[in-house]
Symmetry: C2
Subunit: 393 residues, 2 copies
């Protein structure tokens, strides 16, 4: 696939048709300052919502991800409940692995567990013999779920509008794991604290490692591309485990593959009319905004931006203004309310959210989010209250 050229989104895509291009989220992701700071929460879809737990009864996690009606409904629940400024597509980073033919299941309380750990160059060769191109057909349930979600979002009236804001519907963000996180699961065979086996392979067999990363990049890149083509207005690449790496290892052994993954969506965009549309308007190219986030990546922010991201998510461990400074003060940021404070008394949490907003003012633009995912035991009312606070600021 050649992604060097621009590929125009279909005209009915929410960005191309003008539905979401002026949303708070998309404007902020482009570096504009909307009238109100947009807010959504990583992992808002799922776990913490009673309506989600009810819906999931009797359905395994990966089955839920591959059921278009269910995945769509789970994605919509937090938008309806909290009035957040974006939906985040309900899925799992291992979904494309399953669809390409890898034996994997998600074990409750543990995470993704692989049928076989990929430990040697021979294992890598066996794995990468699976052709990522099969995904283009296999991802149909994902495209279907995205299309349903986008259609439903157009029917949900955004709340908390303020005077002077352009009309918009709530955009959907597509979601995929970064190649290192996929590779870490594949090599370890499941969740791991230190990712020693993955990092050992990286240094012991750098060529096999590069093959594994290139393959993972293509698998996850196609997964993300399918979501954008089906209607997502932005894309987030999530590197759960990059925080286990030194900057040098990240730059040498990981960043090229993450850039390769993004190349699968980096070419997508549309021409937006500028000036008087009735006459002969100029048109500017608008690419689909891309966010990159990783846990514990305070030391990696610059490198994570350099792979081709528009927006960088900041972990709760780093003061947001310091993160902005490390990114040169020119990059839109997303973050970084500490999830540990979601259970604190409201005045403590309120002061923290306002502090994050104040620090975010140092960036060209800021999307308020958590500095890690919503913990399962979070009171959903607290998330709704944060949304009101941010929108009412």
């Amino acid at each position: 696939m050649n992604h060097d050229a621009r590929q125009t989104l279909p005209p009915q895509h929410p960005l191309a048709s003008g539905l979401t291009g002026q949303s708070r989220l998309v404007r902020a992701y482009r570096g504009d300052r909307p009238e109100v700071t947009p807010v959504w929460f990583m992992r808002q879809a799922g776990r913490s919502l009673p309506e989600y737990r009810e819906l999931r009864v009797g359905t395994k996690m990966l089955d839920a991800c591959l059921d278009p009606a269910l995945a769509s409904e789970i994605t919509l629940q937090p938008v309806r409940r909290h009035g957040v400024d974006a939906g985040i597509f309900f899925s799992d980073i291992v979904v494309p692995l399953k669809l390409v033919g890898v034996e994997v299941e998600i074990v409750a309380g543990r995470g993704p567990v692989m049928g076989k750990a990929v430990r040697t160059a021979a294992d890598v060769a066996e794995l990468t013999a699976l052709d990522p191109a099969v995904l283009d057909a296999a991802l149909a349930p994902i495209s279907d779920a995205v299309a349903r979600t986008v259609a439903a979002l157009a029917e949900i009236a955004p709340r908390h509008r303020v005077a002077g804001e352009p009309a918009s519907v709530t955009p959907l963000i597509g979601f995929a794991g970064a190649p290192f996180t996929l590779a870490a699961y594949l090599v370890e065979g499941g969740p791991s604290k230190d990712h020693l086996a993955a990092r050992a392979l990286m240094h012991s067999a750098p060529e096999a490692w590069a093959d594994l990363m290139r393959w993972s990049a293509e698998v996850t890149g196609r997964f993300l591309r399918a979501q954008v083509l089906a209607g997502a207005s932005a894309a987030q690449l999530f590197d759960s485990w990059a925080g286990a790496l030194s900057l040098e290892d990240y730059e040498t052994h990981v960043a090229p593959a993450s850039a390769h993954a993004l190349s699968f969506v980096r070419d997508l965009g549309y021409y937006e009319p500028v000036g008087d549309a009735a006459a002969d308007p100029e048109r500017v190219w608008r690419s689909v905004p891309i966010v990159h986030f990783g846990v514990g990546t305070s030391e990696l922010l610059g490198a994570m931006h350099a792979i081709g991201a528009d927006v960088v998510g900041v972990d709760y461990r780093l003061a947001l203004d310091e993160g902005i400074r490390r990114l040169g003060g020119t990059v839109p940021v997303q973050g970084n309310v500490d999830p540990a404070l979601l259970g604190a008394p409201w005045p403590v949490l309120e002061a923290h959210v306002l502090d994050v907003l104040r620090r975010g003012d140092a960036a060209p633009s800021h999307v308020l989010n958590l500095g890690h995912g919503v913990p399962p035991d979070t009171d959903p009312e607290v998330l709704s209250r944060i949304v009101e606070l941010v929108h009412g600021r």
Copy 2:
């Protein structure tokens, strides 16, 4: 206990008697550059050694820690096998919790599990009603194990001596967990990935948190003091979980307690004769060197030094010369071979160790170590080979 004044070590203590004060390790910890870079490995005692696994058969972890003959023998095994420049006392950070009356056991493959999680201010009040002063008597098995170890170390001829080096026996390093790591286990009730409950208590009930931290500091401080008084020539405070914290949270809610813990050993030292001992020599005060290490603490190094440490351990994630730079170039450092490379082909590992040594040259002095503990599946021969490489440099 008033630790403001200096307290002189007993004359038979290996430092005070002159046995270990000129060892490579103690000299490097003081900022001198010994003829040869000293080397030891975090978690060298235990897990990776077959002679350890044989010894531990049928004995629970905490029982092994409290059996003076066993704990001593386990501490000595890696010194005999690898010829490292220090013994690290075989123990566990929760040992003083057990001895003060907390219900705790170490579950294989999981870690310390508490009888009850300390979640509320009332829980903290109940816990801190346990008087840390009872430890001074309860720690007898620890003092006994240290005394046996120190006596045995004096009988093991150090290997790899070079011409011109002062005579010395191999020193023992005492070991204790930092208050945050203890508090995190107490609040979570066991190991945790995010330490959300501990960090939630920190912000929701800051006074109860401060009480818990002060109590934990005293418990772990007394544990470390007992080891030094019984014969340890240095002390390492280990903060396993500090990497979960922002710098601001660390400085506000953690560092004061870590400083309090160190105050239990910071007063200990001895007068060393300088000049002509036969005449009326001057005497200089030599305090017991203190090392401070935490996992994933690249952002916290300065604050971890500022609590009163002499030496800072650097995690494998940060290039050692960058760690040295962050410490102002004036602080002795310990680290930071990546444990993931212990399984790599020898030329890869050798190049990495030499690179770490070269980067360490930027510090006043450097003790080669890992940037995290020895993984259980490490081939012990590899550790011995690293020792030879470092000593032969």
